[in-house]
């Protein structure tokens, strides 16, 4: 098992370097001149040139990437070109809130999705199956910002149930919990559908397999068949799905964070890219890619836990 993890970690390194390279090249061709951004609307040509020179933007591209990569490997992500804060500090401030948001979204959406999917599978073909599936598909088909705006307008503004602006503090405080409800509902909302559908499909498949038939033949109650035997086996594809959908979730986080003024890394990445703050954008991209890979590593481990066959390999 450890070997498996080690191997996965090892092949993640070229992927991360690849992500950095893609990010770097993309940012190079972005026609924004950070110096112009810094100088602002009323600056004159000479002033912009002066800033440009001072920021050292005249080095060749390859040299810049080489230097950057070397530093990153030593754990130095550089400084934001614009605010001069260490990129690590800025990321440190924003990664926490994003992780919070992701966890808060997954923690209710995944169990609910699995529950709904199980219900639908057990009642296959019945009305409740149809309704659950319809709602799941509907959830996936909705633009996320529309759902978020509705929550702000009704749950937040009209009914005054929860705050909808920014982060209220750490999650263990009342304020912190209150503030995360609406963003987590928005982001988690888009996740229930896929989980429910996956659970249903895979559970139906397992329910049709030999060992379930055997269990049923032995007179095990239907409830125990489903919960005790089938569900665990059917969770493997669900776990994979969650791993793959993390990227999608990160995309949703960008929109959610913007909408709720949540101080997360998605918003940071958008801001950094549009203002051509190279080091900061790269740092944010790196963190996002890293989290994607980490989640998938966890998924792999869970896999082994759920399916001994993988562990054996």
């Amino acid at each position: 098992m450890l070997q498996h993890i080690a191997h996965r970690l090892l092949i993640s390194v070229p992927v991360l370097i690849g992500v950095l390279l893609v990010g770097f090249l993309l940012l190079q061709v972005v026609p924004t001149d950070p110096a112009t951004v810094m100088a602002g609307p009323t600056a004159t040509h000479q002033e912009i040139e002066a800033i440009r020179e001072a920021m050292g933007l005249n080095e060749p591209v390859i040299v810049q990437f080489g230097i950057y990569l070397g530093r990153v490997l030593q754990g130095d992500l550089g400084r934001s070109m614009i605010s001069n804060t260490a990129v690590a500090t800025e990321l440190g401030n924003t990664v926490g809130p994003t992780v919070e948001l992701m966890v808060a979204s997954l923690i209710w959406a995944v169990p609910l999705g699995i529950l709904l999917g199980t219900l639908a599978a057990v009642r296959r073909g019945k009305l409740s199956d149809r309704i659950i599936m319809a709602v799941s598909v509907a959830g996936v088909s909705m633009p996320i910002f529309w759902f978020g705006l509705m929550l702000i307008q009704y749950a937040g503004f009209h009914w005054k149930l929860f705050p909808f602006q920014g982060r209220g503090g750490p999650l263990w405080t009342l304020d912190g919990l209150n503030h995360i409800v609406l963003p987590a509902l928005t982001l988690g909302g888009v996740f229930i559908g896929p989980v429910a559908r996956m659970t249903r499909t895979s559970l139906l498949e397992v329910l049709g397999s030999d060992f379930v038939r055997t269990a049923r033949a032995k007179g095990v109650s239907e409830r125990r068949v489903v919960v005790g035997h089938a569900l665990r086996n059917s969770l493997i594809p669900v776990v994979t799905l969650i791993g793959l959908q993390i990227g999608f979730l990160l995309g949703g986080a960008v929109v959610t964070e913007t909408m709720f003024a949540w101080p997360g890394v998605g918003r940071l990445a958008v801001g950094a890219i549009v203002s051509a703050d190279y080091a900061l954008a790269q740092g944010a991209i790196l963190v996002l890619a890293l989290s994607f890979l980490l989640v998938n590593l966890v998924v792999d481990v869970l896999y082994a836990f759920l399916d001994p066959r993988v562990r054996a390999r």
Partner: protein
Amino acid sequence: MTELSATPAAILPDDAPTERLKRPTIWRKLRRDKAAMLATGFLVLVVALGVLAPWIAPYDPYDNNLRMMLKPPSEAHWLGNDGQGRDMVSRLLFGIRTTLSMGLLAVLAGGSIGAILGLLAAYFRAMEGPIMRVVDVLLSFPSILFGLAIAAVLGAGTTSITIALTVAAVPSIARITRGAALVVMQQEFISACRAIGMSDMRIMFRHLLPNCASTIFVYLTLQLGQTILLGAALSFIGLGAQPPTAELGTMAADGRNFLFFAPHVSTIPSVAIFMIVLAFNVLGDALRDVLDPRLRQ
């Protein structure tokens, strides 16, 4: 959705052979699914509306008239007017046209690239490592950020969105194709083809690809819905189509400021997106039920 990619055939080896399917069977099975037929009918209608938009739109979708700004639905304008006083019916028809062609183009282009990558990775063992690492890179790069960067380079607009959506579609389709192709590769007829000295290209495109086609097709259908939604998300962060282009995602995102006093401006395109994506998802699900061998027991 990525349900198919979530059941990697490599991990759960499938004993049911993916032989070529006969069309009439699929159609007959699909016809029994009422929801799928409804979705298909709806999509046919939507595509027709999009194609015919220039001829059936009651007004010029670009003719603005600020005096008619945000007017609610009326007899002359069935769906009201938008923030520029333009006729919403006409905007909607042209919006469907733009959005669908963007989504289709992106999914077809991304699907083709992804499928080729997936086939290569499955067929040539030596290429598997590098190709799958590239796919991993693309998969780990949040597509919304990719879209952002592309838009920064090329300027926001339909071209940028289409490119970003194409790139977003590549990695998952590559994965799914590889998974499906690996299963086919285990079958005897591939070895047989090799034995009679058939060229690699011929085997890949004449035998391997057709046998994975149904899986890829199902996935493309599901991906189309996702692609349209991603386009809407890009519009939300300001990377939508350039004015005055009518595009559903951009219309929904731009109209959101009027959501609570002129709700039709944002709600109509949002609902249109919702219905189209829903229809693609329902159809994709049904196709999968019909085509996916494991459920065809």
